[in-house]
Symmetry: none
Subunit: 415 residues, 2 copies
């Protein structure tokens, strides 16, 4: 079954709001086994909406619209849908009652416009809206074998109506069988094409499960998706493929599904019963902030010092003044002293020092913008890594934070 | 000129990511005077992409695509576009050189796949990508009077390319006459409807300039847009309207256009020649990180201490142990000691202390998740604010950081 999503609303066309309904519906429908192959957005204009729906009918079996069920003159989705099927509109009494009750309960003033929401295409199934006043509509055209579903625009109303009424409708109508299950292997440190190269044969050779690569904020995600008669069987297919590709990417995989880099680091610290502290210069506290994005991180992060000025590096973290003078604040020596200093000062198992040039100023002849040193001190000794990142200040901070977390993760794996 | 946006990518169809390119392009193109009447999303499938582009050509003068310019086998947008215009593909040497340089500079391994990004449709204008490896493409079909523009998918690359190359291209190509100028007044602290109430007469009464309210990550932006024969005249219209609404929102406006809260704070510190240091608990370094997002922030941020554990609060920031025992780590007293302690320790003009319960754990009978204290110590004395924020851990951290920066801003205005 091919589905096209048609999201309507001039505010979408003007770019005033981000479309959250399309990704919600797409994700849920895919999980249910439908193929959402097209998403179209059109404004509150009768002619253009009609033509978009006509195009959609040529290429899809089911159209799901969102928006345009409200009380204003600009809300035309039901009327355009009815016209497409040559159905007249009538006042649906039960819906009118619901709307009157809704207003009475909230002591709100109701206008005649509000009753427009109870006007329905003849022969349509009316879908209750448990979060608002606009009912949804399902029309089946048996001759053409097509279905159109009109959902309200506000994401909260759409989500509730979809889960409560549309999922049961689709399940019973299409006797949904089987299961689609996905698993995401999150990797860091290999470029997209280098990663593709490693698992190319599996990407090209597979039809079930399928493999897809997704670049996400510097991470590369490998998504394995399997279709099968049951969840158990789909999971078995995924396990089988994962066991083949995992060894090819092993050191780069830091998490599965929703496991972020900071959660992976946190789990390692918890499991090994270790504490950590950071001395951050160019990242300005970003790495500590990311570590504390994980609930329960107070169990392993004791604290950090953002040593932005050289004085703070010297006085609070114990970097020798002569090191800064002779080697520079951005040097492997300073990074190592920072890691060691913060570890000693906050009395933790692991100490991390990060110093670099986030730019746009601060570069020297030998030290370009983006040059970063990340040092770690702990039971496995002191290590220091040099990187040079491209991009704007924010990108450099982001890449440095992600890379630092990854170095911490790999350091923890060795102890 | 009618424009259709065609965003491509299977991850959009699967609902795995939210489409941020469409609203960005739509908003900017509308500002430039183009009508974006259709937005379509299609996956990385040759047949379907071709048919979507054909449909788009029937109803639009200009098609702008995003995505599918990468190095993998799934990146097919340029090829499909070239096929549509019957143009063969060739290796564009200058782009190939750029890509080689990009990899060399980052010391990354390059594969043959990467050179796919330098394959271009014959006769196309090549558009430089200043943030990534995938160049953009402009093809004009003079016979049909149609234009297609291929932009990269990553929002950062797309945004930069659009502003640096596509806006100048469209302006010169269509001799954009007159000027459309926007100014954004960024506010914080007033809800959307309370703000609307204050400037309602201006929202309803204006046709040029127009006023729009946009909620953005807890901030409310008031966008004033004027059309006029020249930029000077448009700016004059905006100045006139701004002078009327500014007094109604005065204390809530923290920045104009791209001036973020942290930049506004930074400018105040610079202008007043003051230094700052923070003691952060529940925000874990997020406020310091945001302050250091601003280039040149090393002039006023000396450093910070993320005092996540009570031991660090006591030993490094000087919070009396008895205060933590009797009042609690999340209390106005602790916040004030943190502000004073960090100010004294790092010898700065301003000290800030932030402590709270980010959740989901840590709540007690009297102290719910979301309870936060923000204290500031400086020349105007000690102040402390209590807030209780809703939402998930990440929301609470974000709201706390934004609110803390706003308190710092308003404190700085008094000294």
């Amino acid at each position: 079954m091919i589905i096209e999503l048609v999201t309507t609303g001039t505010e979408l066309l003007l770019g005033q709001i981000v479309n959250l309904n399309a990704p919600f519906l797409a994700a849920r429908l895919n999980e249910l086994g439908f193929s959402v192959l097209y998403q179209t957005t059109v404004g509150d204009n009768r002619g253009r909406m009609k033509s978009v729906l006509e195009t959609a009918f040529k290429r899809a079996d089911i159209i799901i619209t969102s928006g345009g069920l409200g009380p204003t003159q600009g809300d035309i989705t039901k009327e355009v849908t009815a016209a497409l099927f040559n159905k007249p509109m009538y006042l649906h009494e039960a819906s009118a009652e619901q709307i009157k009750k809704f207003f009475a309960k909230r002591r709100l003033c109701m206008t005649d416009n509000n009753l427009r929401q109870a006007m329905m295409p003849e022969g349509a199934q009316i879908v209750e809206n448990t979060c608002g006043t606009a009912p949804g509509v399902i029309i089946e055209d048996e001759m053409a074998g097509k279905i159109i579903i009109n959902l309200p625009g506000p994401p909260r109303e759409l989500t509730a109506m979809f889960e409560k009424s549309i999922v049961p409708y689709l399940s019973s109508r299409f006797g949904l069988q089987g299961a689609i299950v996905s698993r995401v292997l999150r990797t860091y440190g290999l470029g997209e094409s280098a990663l593709e190269e490693r698992i190319k044969t599996y990407i090209l050779g597979q039809s079930n499960p399928t493999l897809a690569l997704l670049a996400r904020n510097g991470e590369i995600h490998v998504r394995i998706t399997a279709k099968a008669a049951s969840v158990t069987e789909a999971v078995r297919l995924i396990d089988e493929l994962e066991s083949q590709i995992h060894p090819l990417l092993d050191e780069y995989i830091f998490g599965i599904d929703e496991e972020t880099m900071e959660r992976s680091v946190g789990n390692l610290l918890l499991n090994k019963n270790l504490t950590i502290a950071l001395a951050e210069s160019c990242t300005g506290g970003l790495v500590s902030s990311r570590i504390t994005d994980v609930p329960g991180s107070s169990q392993y992060l004791m604290g950090s010092i953002v040593c932005y000025s050289n004085a703070v590096k010297v006085q609070q973290v114990g970097v020798p003044e002569t090191t800064i003078e002779t080697k520079g604040a951005v040097s492997p020596e300073t990074a190592e002293y920072m890691a060691q200093g913060i570890r000693e000062k906050l009395n933790t198992d692991i100490g991390v020092g990060i110093t670099g040039i986030a730019g746009p100023d601060g570069a020297t002849e030998n030290k370009p913008v983006g040059l970063v040193y990340i040092a770690i001190d702990g039971a496995a000794g002191k290590v220091c890594y040099e990187h040079c990142f491209n991009g704007e200040r924010a990108d450099i901070k982001h890449r440095t934070a992600l890379t630092a977390l990854n170095h911490i993760r790999r350091y923890l794996l060795t102890i």
